[in-house]
Amino acid sequence: MVSKLMHVTPSKCTVCRNCELACAFSHMHGGKPTAARIRAFADDQQREGHHAVVVCMQCEEAGCVKACPAHALWRNPETGAIYHVEARCIRCQSCVAGCPFGNMRWEAAMEFPTKCDLCDGDPVCVKFCPTGALEHR
């Protein structure tokens, strides 16, 4: 079964940051947008249609999974999402180093990594994206 993937259309992103907020709230990081697992980047020249949003692509050959010595990153076969299993995590930060795209984040306050888990198959960010820059299909 081919799972649904996140699709980003940068030209549609307005950097409204609704996705970040939605993510931060739904993952209970106190609604701190900087803790969100999805990140919107404004174009440095503020050109419309040049903004971009970056979120984990659940890579088939994922750098985080490869780097993790504790097998704490594990793919849910149903949703295709790579989950971070807190009980297995030894908090070594290797996954953060291992992801080449910057989608594995280190949550310093809690001393463990966070990543997009596709909200168990129904990503909240997608629902809150007003422009359709984010799609899950």
Binding site: V8, V54, A87
Partner: protein, 251 residues
């Protein structure tokens, strides 16, 4: 599929699965201090004891550590019977004498109604309860820089000869997986010190933020095949680069 009776309830189990995992799935709490999902169970703290019996044992029962005991069809398990409670309490009293400042020990002691420890308490006692999580983590998952040395009451966790270890890569996994925060370390800016060894944390090529130590990056590259360049950039700068790539794609 097999079935066991857990605190009076029939529960389906997978063959060979440990009782602790079954209990947790069923929402039953069992105290543990030496269990960590990333490593094989050790059976060292003995707090996860439960009482097991079988109909054919004719009333005889025994205490086993649930973190290690495989669920077998027909087993009857009580996770908080009187003997279980009594033994756990006895163990906690011993731990209170050794490590009265360790938070999880205090918390469990409170739960088990220990008001006064019957043994002389070592008030400045080491927080280390020798649960063996750090050493199992380091030896089985990282580079094996630390181990338990000496035996008996003198047993402790250390690097070989208590010297700074050449194997330590400064990942802090030991300290951070310690349930009682007993392993001292410093991690300030780009300097990190643990087990007597000071590391320089590589600063992000983009923004200068700390990433991982060069030793850890080298170890990840060598053992996991993840390129070092990618590792020495912080996640935010990496994400920014990704964003830039997207932006390019968009045009």
């Amino acid at each position: 599929m097999s079935e066991i009776i857990l605190n009076g309830r029939k529960v389906k189990v997978r063959k060979g699965e440990f009782l602790l995992a079954v209990a947790r799935r069923e929402g039953i709490e069992i105290p543990t201090l030496c269990q960590h999902d990333a490593v094989e169970p050790a059976g060292a703290c003995r707090l996860c004891l439960v009482e097991v019996t079988r109909p054919e044992w004719e009333g005889w029962s025994k205490l086993v550590t649930s973190c290690l005991f495989p669920a077998e069809d027909g087993l009857i398990v009580s996770t908080d019977s009187a003997p279980v409670h009594k033994t756990r309490k006895g163990i906690l009293e011993l731990l209170m004498a050794r490590s009265p400042n360790a938070v999880p020990v205090r918390e469990l002691a409170r739960q088990y109604g220990i008001e006064q420890c019957p043994y002389p308490v070592q008030h400045d006692g080491d927080n280390c309860i020798l649960c063996d999580i750090c050493t199992r983590v380091c030896q089985n998952l990282v580079t094996g820089a630390i181990s338990r040395i000496d035996r008996g009451v003198g047993k402790r966790v250390a690097t070989p000869f208590a010297e700074p270890s050449t194997d330590c890569v400064g990942c802090l996994a030991c300290a951070k997986s310690c349930p009682t925060a007993a392993i001292p370390y410093e991690d300030e800016g780009l300097r990190r010190t643990i087990w007597g060894k000071t590391f320089e944390v590589a600063s992000c090529a983009g923004c200068g933020a700390p990433t991982v130590t060069a030793e850890q990056a080298a170890w990840i590259e060598q053992s996991k095949g993840v390129s070092r360049e990618d590792q020495l950039v912080c996640d935010r700068c990496k994400a920014q680069k990704t964003a830039a790539a997207y932006q390019k794609l968009a045009w």
